[in-house]
Symmetry: C2
Subunit: 278 residues, 2 copies
């Protein structure tokens, strides 16, 4: 249950009072943007990077966002009310506002990190691949398809994770119709091959630019690894030195089983998780 | 501005009291379903057909819906508070409910038919085609892509209409990567060719099963026309006897310009609109 909620301009408010108008386009059309951040030591981690991405998403939607300073203040306010020693999941949301043209609702919630995420960090996860129905290159060429924008329209993301669960897996890896691994519904693909820590290039594919994957690649040299952004096919993931899904709250979780086939555990997982800090 | 709102179990309520919890997955993830109906003579038109489609959408999302009788009661309640002589746009919404597992929010709003819709009925519209990024057949084979489900995740639909407006058009016609016309973001494609009123087959393409197009095809014989469900390529639309976009509230609007090329006005538009009743 989200334990802390904050509303732009109103500070931290009781959960039951943080409500949206039922005619807000954020709910009627999933028309809005959001970010999810890891809360550590009472602070939102990588806040600047998330605000930058939120602004890029909002630009794709022609959605006016409050100033970065206001959004940062809101995020910090929500985190300040969270127990300092506990990690948490901060969500920043901006809706389009009511259909009749009223103002957007901008708010933050902080919730505990799900137990399933902690377990996934420790044990790794089983993943199934499935088509996203698109070619790898179509979304960057077609801005109306909103590739790379983190919007409130996460119906397909949610349905994909539900589908994976029905197959006995913990997550889905989306694949393009031309056969490239893209991303998971709420995380990025990261893998280790020939001494390089790799992820999928967002600009070529329309996948979301992962703040966590970017941070890991930026710090790969600290572990003696190179960093690469390139394409990969799912079959190749059975042959790499390690494969993970990376996201802000769940962190880095190892793919231990892919489409029903066990992957060899990667000895680098612990070092990478330690580098990431959770 | 929506003028009438109703909440399941609470009757017609003032607009400002019809609110959603900010942690409802309906807004956080666009996780929910909706229907939009035409209100005529104080009643929701084609209510049974819309409730049936809402139930199919909800099944795709594994979302429990209230009983049809309750949804119908809610719809009628909202319409009963609407001026009897005025047409209106009724929206029925069911969200997943709060992230912590609370109950869904089920509600109805009635709003005036936008002036732009009335004008589109009278004057027709300019339409631009654009890719939806998918092949025609991929969504029916891939249930996690939610083809044919009318969910709250309408971000791409909204962005597509915004894109069309930037091109000086009033709507977009989505095309599959294999070159078939699919549907518009909030309406179905209908055309007349060789004495047959035609639309795109939902089961083969994952387009939404249009209640309005189905009703028109079911009644085509009254105008001496056959009814066909088949695929068509955008280039062929320049050669047919008439092309329209069909939806519950806007009704039947003629495509008068496609990708910048004028189409010959169809003399059947008035008869078809009269058949449809708005």
């Amino acid at each position: 249950m989200p334990r802390v909620l904050a509303l732009l301009g109103a500070g931290v408010v009781p959960a039951e009072t943080l409500v949206l108008r039922a005619d807000d386009l954020g709910v009627l059309r999933g028309d809005g943007v959001f970010e999810t951040l890891h809360v550590r030591d009472g602070e939102p981690w990588l806040l600047d990077e998330h605000l930058e991405r939120m602004r890029r998403s909002a630009e794709r939607l022609a959605l006016p966002l409050p100033a970065d300073a206001d959004l940062a203040g809101l995020a910090r306010q929500a985190c300040a009310a969270w127990p300092a020693g506990d990690e948490g999941a901060l969500r920043l949301v901006c809706t389009r506002g009511p259909e009749d043209g009223g103002p957007p609702t901008v708010y933050a919630t902080v919730a505990p990190v799900p137990e399933s995420s902690r377990q996934a960090r420790a044990d790794g996860i089983a993943v199934v691949t499935a088509t996203l129905g698109v070619t790898a290159g179509v979304r960057p060429e077609s801005p109306w398809l909103l590739g790379g924008a983190k919007t409130l329209s996460y119906g397909v993301n949610t349905a994909s994770q539900r589908w994976a669960a029905e197959q006995g897996a913990q997550d889905m890896l989306w694949v393009s119709v031309d056969g490239y691994a893209l991303e998971a519904p709420t995380s990025a693909l990261v893998w280790l091959a020939d001494g390089a820590l790799c992820t999928v290039p967002p600009a070529d594919t329309g996948v979301l630019a992962s703040t966590t994957a970017a941070w890991l690649l930026d710090h790969a040299a600290e572990l003696g690894l190179r960093a690469e952004r390139r394409m990969i096919r799912p079959a190749e993931l059975h042959l790499v030195d390690g494969a993970w899904l990376a996201s802000s709250v769940r962190g880095l979780v190892e793919v231990r089983r892919l489409d029903g086939v066990d992957l060899i555990p990667c000895p680098e997982t612990a070092r990478l998780q330690k580098l990431l800090g959770h």
